[in-house]
Symmetry: C3
Subunit: 147 residues, 3 copies
């Protein structure tokens, strides 16, 4: 039995509709490989079973994580690029709970909840890479002429 | 006397500037009909007199609503499709109050406040439908080849 | 020594990667002048050292400001236009602190923090102006046919 389609091509990119249980970053990475996306921006919204946010601690050199459950993702904003041959996905999100209080930050992982999560991907015309910037000790999207 | 224009065509879609008292969903639905939009994504921001958010209660099969007033809408993210011949608009939003605390979730209705609300609509090349997914008991955007 | 590139052209507009210490509005205004952008929409996310939000007080005719520091900007949504020969940038943002609480509203100024801030600019095909609407006493983007 074939899986329900998760994305279709639209003018300038792709429209994704992810479903309960889907790992958002894994799905975006698979799209990058299948469709040979060199770089892209994306924007999304939907319902998540769990969202793990991280706030970067420069002293520790890592993210302090927190996981929250059953949230309406009010906005997901990010970019797709590559790092050492692997998809490098950078995304931030805001999400509201059952009382409409919101939380947000840098996204470490997202799992779709009961419902769906819609994402529009706008593809850029070439490949971009992320690399650790020695001045700041964090990944930065490296700009180069791709047009 | 003719009404002030609410939208203009731009490359790839439309730019809307809504005004005090406008019902955002009614305006988006009217745009879909007037311009024969089969499906689209949109993104917006502005000032709202009232925003009604809803958190879906799967037991009750309906949204638990809450209305808030006089908020800066910091982001509106959504998609346009059709359901049984009617515009089916799905949108999430985040909004801040006078002390910059934010609230957000699934949007049930929005009325523009004193000021304006700007929305960019990116049109997709064909018609998409929403339908209740029997597995989850909620509307899901149905993907099909439209390119 | 030449400065690190802050933007590249992509299909339909520009991708910006701003760096620690950059003034976001000054960089967007410089882009508008250098690339002769008549009007555009933009969307971004990243880390900010400081964000000043303002809530408009119609009695006083000005914004009540508040500055917050060291925030993950979860979403920046705005439009670029002109007013009396100068760039007129309208932007709203949501941002999360180290505990993932979020704040947001109309943006008065933003300075990039340790890390980067990525912005995608979608250029429209002509020039648009902002002007104070006498009915509401605030700037409104004036629509006219630009296609």
């Amino acid at each position: 039995m074939s899986e329900v389609t998760r994305f279709i091509p639209v003018s300038g990119g792709f429209l994704m509709v992810l479903r309960q249980g889907d790992d958002v970053f894994a799905r975006l990475g698979a799209l990058m490989r299948e469709e040979a996306i060199g770089s892209a921006a994306f924007s999304g919204f939907g319902f998540v079973k769990s969202a793990t946010f991280g706030f970067f601690d420069f002293e520790a050199g890592d993210y302090r994580p927190k996981t929250m459950e059953n949230l309406e993702l009010t906005n997901l904003t990010g970019t797709l690029a590559w790092k050492v041959g692997e998809p490098a996905i950078h995304a931030h999100a805001t999400a509201g709970d059952a009382s409409f209080r919101t939380f947000g930050g840098h996204v470490l992982s997202l799992e779709v909840g009961r419902g769906s999560l819609e994402i529009v991907i706008t593809v850029f015309p070439g490949r971009l890479e992320r690399a650790v910037d020695p001045d700041i000790g964090a990944n930065v999207l490296q700009l180069m002429n791709i047009l």
